[in-house]
Amino acid sequence: MNTTHRRLVALAGTSIAAAALSACGSSGTPASSPAAAHDKATTVVTKLLSFGPKKLTVKAGTTVTWSDSDSIGHTVTTGTFSLGSNGLRTSEHPDGVVDLPLRKGKDVSFTFDKPGRYVYYCSIHKGMSGEIDVTP
């Protein structure tokens, strides 16, 4: 292997290592990110037309991740709504805190810095909602 060839191999190796390191250090909050292993205590997983767990309690500063477990697309939309007698939402008022499409392999994360009760729903499916309670 001549000197030029050795330098090219070293350059390629360094580039790959740099790319791998930068990928490890990237942050995706609040945003969509590729599916990865998440802490069960801070992860909400959809199952068909429901969020599970429906109610999650976390401490302020915790990042909650929503993950789609099947092939049905949803949204994670925080806000208020009213329910009809059939249990389906009749009106929705998104508050703009989180409003992201949720699809399989495209997890959604959000860091809740302020304590409070955050109600969210899927704007596509009128019977699908959940709640994040953030304690100090």
């Binding site: 068909l48 037309l49 789609d68 099947d70 092939s71 049905i72 697309g73 949204t75 389906l88 499409p101 699809r103 399989k104 392999g105 495209k106 704007s123 596509i124 499916h125 009128k126 019977g127």
Partner: protein, 189 residues
């Protein structure tokens, strides 16, 4: 001359029951599909063939069908002499109309299957209700048009009217589902 008048006068009378039969058959297909969707339809997770969700898969496939449906409309207008600057429609135009129609209907079948089996006749919102009705009406109009093409005694207006109904129901169903989906989650795969 009197014989010709008799034939002309008799034609509408003979056509009426046939036309009624065609309409009833189309209605029966629509109602059956609606009942099927209401009975067997429930949330299910089905394959997405590389798309990120079932809805996205359906939306893109329906949009592909929409292009064929627009081609159907254009070739139909040409065949009926409504595109005068292009002259009379050749046999090739008729062939394109038939082929694109067959391909369009074939491509709607997976969409219909997903709608009926994994979504059902959805009355949870006005949008989904109208979409469900239009989806069922689309196949009713298709069956009625297919029958009308094979019944010689029907008035000439029946086939284009049913074709127009087929076009309108599909565009309406697409508007309330695929277009709504793209507007809701973006034009992604």
């Amino acid at each position: 001359m009197s014989h010709a008048r008799e034939v002309t006068a008799a034609a509408p009378r003979a056509a009426a029951p046939v036309l009624l039969g065609v309409v009833l058959l189309g209605t029966a297909v629509s109602v059956t599909l609606g009942a099927l969707g209401a009975t067997v339809g429930q949330p299910r997770s089905l394959p997405t063939f590389g798309f990120t969700s079932m809805q996205t898969f359906k939306a893109w496939l329906a949009s592909l069908v929409l292009l064929l449906v627009l081609l159907q409309l254009f070739t139909a207008l040409w065949i009926y002499g409504r595109v005068p600057w292009l002259g009379p429609a050749s046999k090739g135009v008729h062939r394109i109309h038939r082929t694109s129609g067959v391909v369009a209907i074939a491509l709607t079948l997976p969409i219909a299957w997903y709608c009926i089996y994994a979504f059902g006749f959805d009355t949870s919102t006005p949008r989904t209700t109208v979409h469900s009705v239009l989806g069922c009406a689309f196949y009713g109009a298709f069956v009625a048009k297919l029958c009308a093409l094979r019944v010689p005694r029907l008035p000439h207006a029946v086939v284009p009217v049913l074709g127009g109904l087929l076009f309108a129901t599909f565009v309406g169903a697409w508007w309330l589902s695929a277009l709504w989906w793209f507007q809701t989650v973006g034009w992604t795969r």
